[in-house]
Symmetry: C2
Subunit: 360 residues, 2 copies
C-alpha cells in the first residue's frame, strides 16, 4: 500500500515514519530537492501543479493526503479522479483562506474574534472604523508562523501595513486580549467516527509555536470538542484536524483551523495512546482509529532556528528528541522534543529545561 | 550521523525507524535484495564478509551495530578499525555459540539447565548417560526459532538426531520442566549505566515466540536483573541485550542470551517509556538512555507465516500493528501487534484476541 503526500517537510516525514509500521510506504511531491521527508520515502521532485508528477503519484498511491493547506485546488481535483484524496479539496479550500474559514466558523455558530474582509484601502479604513484598534491585518491566504500579518496599533500603522500586504486579499481581525491559546487535535474516520485528544495549551513566540502542554482534565475541552465536531461533520472531514482557539474568560474564540496534522499535536508521538501521525494514516486508509488519551502528562517544545545537542535533550527525564534533518536557518522549525511525566509538575519542569535549551 | 547495521531484516528496520527521529540514518549490509529494512534506509547488497561493502559502510558510518549474532568475527574486527562497533565482537562471539554462552553463565554463577558439549557419537552417548533423557540436542551455532535442535526422548532418538545435526559442533542440554519462560531486556550505555525493562513472560509455539507479556511487578525480576547485570558488566556490553530464562519453582535458569534487540522486547515500542530500538540507538551513539518503565500493562503477539488484516488488528482496543514488509512464507515472522491497557485483565483479553487473529 502506498500513500501519496503533497509536501515533503517534517509533517510528511513524521507521517511516513508512522506509516511504515502499518506496512504503508509514502511518496512525497515537493519542489525542494532538500525536502526532509525524502529520507523515509520516495520524493517526486517538482511543483504541486505538475500533472506529470501528479500522474506518477496517482499511478502508485491509492490514497493522497497533504501536509499543508495551500495545495492548488486543481491539483487535488486532478488527483481525486484516480485516488482517494483526504481531507477533501473543499476542506483545504476553506482552511487556506482566513476569510472563508472565519465565515464558516460564524455560519456554524462558532464564536470568533471580530473580522472583516479588506480588498481595498477604503475597506481597511472602514473596517478600522467599525472594529477599532488594535487589530491584525493579515493576508487571507499563505500566512503561517506569523508570516503575512501586521499588528495595527495606531492609525499611522495602516499605510505601511497596507503597502506591505496590499495587492493580496486581506482580512482585518480584532485583536483579542486572550488569557491563553489552546488547540484541539481531532481525528475523524471515513465512517464519521471522531476522537479528540486532550485540549492542548500553546505558547507562541514571535508568531511561532514554542511550547505545547496537554491538559487532560481541562474544563474547556468539551466546548472545544463541540466546535470542532461541527466543523468536522460539516466538512465530512477525514483525517487529523486542528482547531486553534483563544480563551477569554470562560469563552473560547476560534482563531484558525488546520486540515492536517499540527505542530501543537506533536506531543502525541510519545504522549498519547496513538500519535496524531498514526491516527491520520489510520483515518485516510479507512482503518479503525486509535485511542487519543494522553499517557500521563505530556508536552512539547519546538526547536526553531537552532537545535540543541541530542545529549542535552535526552538527559532530561522523559524527553524524546525529534530532529527533522533540515538545514538550520533563522525562524525555521528544525525539530522538537516531547516530554512525558507522571504529574503536571514533572512535565512543566521538563518543559522549562527544554525551553532553556531551545533558547540557548 | 549514520549508523551501519549488519543485517537488513525486521530488527534493522525497527532500529532505523527509531533512529530517524534522532537525526540518524541507517545503512544495512544484507545479502538479500528483499531485505525489508531497505525501505527505511540504504541497503549495501552483499555478503557479511565482503570487504568492499564493509569499507563502504565504514566510510559512511561512525557506529556499527548488528541485528543478529552470527556475524563473521573477522567482519566485526575489520570494521572495528574504522568505526565504533557495539556490542563488541567478543559479546557476539560468546552469544552465537551455545557452548561458550552456557560456559559463561556457569563461570559467572548463573544457574543453567545441565549441558555438555557433543563433538562425536561417543560424546553424545556419554552425555546422555550422565544427563539422562529427555534432553535437547542442539547445534552450538546458527540455531534460532527452534531451528537446529532435536528433542531426544528415547534412546532410539539419538541416532537420527545425530545424523541430522552431526558434523556441526553440538551441545546436549537437559530438558527442564519449567513453569514459565521469561526474558529480561536490558540496555547498557557506554558509561556502564544499565537499565532494565520489566520482566517479560513469553509463550513459544513450534519453537517460535508467539506472545510476550510485560510483568511490571514480577517477584523474580530482581533475580533476572542480577544475572543480566553480571553478564553485561563482564562483557563491557553496549546496547540492548536480552537474557532468556526458565522459571522452575522459585528458581531462574538461564537458557540463552541475545546481544541485540529481541523479539520479546517488541512490546516496548508502544508499551514502555522508551522502546528497545530507541534505547539501543541511544546506547550505541553514547547518548543518555531513556526510561524503561512500562506504560500501564503491555504485551505483544507475533504474526508468523500469515498476517491478519490491519482493520482486524486495529479494531482491538489498545492495539498497534507492526508489519515488516516481508514476503509471506510458512514459519516466517511477518509482523507483530503490541497492545497496551490500563490493567492486566485488559491486556490479557487483547492478547487473546490477537492470538486468535494470528492463528486464523
Amino acid at each position: 500500500m502506498i500513500v501519496g503526500i503533497i509536501g515533503g517537510g517534517q509533517l510528511a516525514r513524521m507521517l511516513a515514519l508512522a506509516a511504515h509500521p502499518l506496512g504503508v510506504r509514502c511518496i512525497f511531491l515537493d519542489p525542494s530537492p532538500d525536502a526532509c521527508a525524502r529520507s523515509v520515502g520516495d520524493l517526486l521532485l517538482g511543483h504541486y501543479d505538475d500533472t506529470r508528477l501528479l500522474d506518477l503519484m496517482a499511478d502508485q498511491a491509492q490514497v493522497v493526503t497533504c501536509e499543508f493547506e495551500s495545495v492548488p485546488a486543481e491539483s487535488l481535483q486532478y488527483l481525486s479522479r484516480r485516488a482517494f484524496v483526504y481531507p477533501s479539496a473543499q476542506a483545504l479550500e476553506v482552511a487556506r483562506d482566513r476569510w472563508y474559514e472565519k465565515q464558516l466558523f460564524a455560519s456554524l455558530g462558532i464564536p470568533t474574534p471580530p473580522f472583516m474582509p479588506v480588498d481595498s484601502w477604503q475597506d481597511l479604513e472602514s473596517a478600522v472604523t467599525v472594529m477599532g484598534l488594535p487589530a491584525m491585518l493579515k493576508t487571507r491566504t499563505m500566512g503561517y508562523d506569523g508570516k503575512g500579518q501586521w499588528v495595527l496599533r495606531k492609525p499611522r500603522d495602516l499605510a505601511p501595513a497596507f503597502a506591505a500586504l496590499g495587492g493580496a486579499p486581506l482580512i482585518l481581525e480584532g485583536f483579542v486580549p486572550f488569557d491563553r491559546e489552546v488547540s484541539v487535535i481531532a481525528v475523524r474516520g471515513v465512517t464519521g467516527e471522531t476522537r479528540f485528544y486532550p485540549l492542548t495549551e500553546n505558547v507562541h513566540q514571535n508568531g511561532v509555536l514554542a511550547q505545547s502542554l496537554a491538559r487532560p482534565t481541562d474544563p474547556l475541552a468539551e466546548q472545544a470538542y463541540f466546535y470542532a465536531q461541527r466543523l468536522l461533520d460539516h466538512l465530512q472531514y477525514v483525517g487529523v484536524f486542528a482547531l486553534e482557539l483563544f480563551q477569554r474568560g470562560a469563552e473560547l474564540l476560534a482563531n484558525e483551523m488546520a486540515p492536517r496534522v499540527h505542530n501543537s499535536g506533536h506531543w502525541t508521538i510519545e504522549g498519547a495512546e496513538t500519535s496524531q501521525f498514526e491516527n491520520h494514516m489510520r483515518a485516510v486508509l479507512g482503518l479503525p482509529l486509535g485511542g487519543t488519551k494522553s499517557l500521563g502528562y505530556a508536552g512539547m517544545v519546538n526547536f526553531v532556528g537552532t537545535i540543541p545537542e541530542a545529549e542535552h535533550v535526552l538527559a532530561i527525564p522523559g524527553a524524546h528528541f525529534h530532529v527533522y534533518g533540515k538545514t538550520a536557518r533563522a525562524g525555521r522549525k528544525l525539530g522538537h522534543a516531547t516530554v512525558r511525566a507522571a504529574d503536571e509538575a514533572g512535565v512543566c519542569e521538563a518543559l522549562s529545561m527544554l525551553r532553556a535549551l531551545a533558547c540557548s
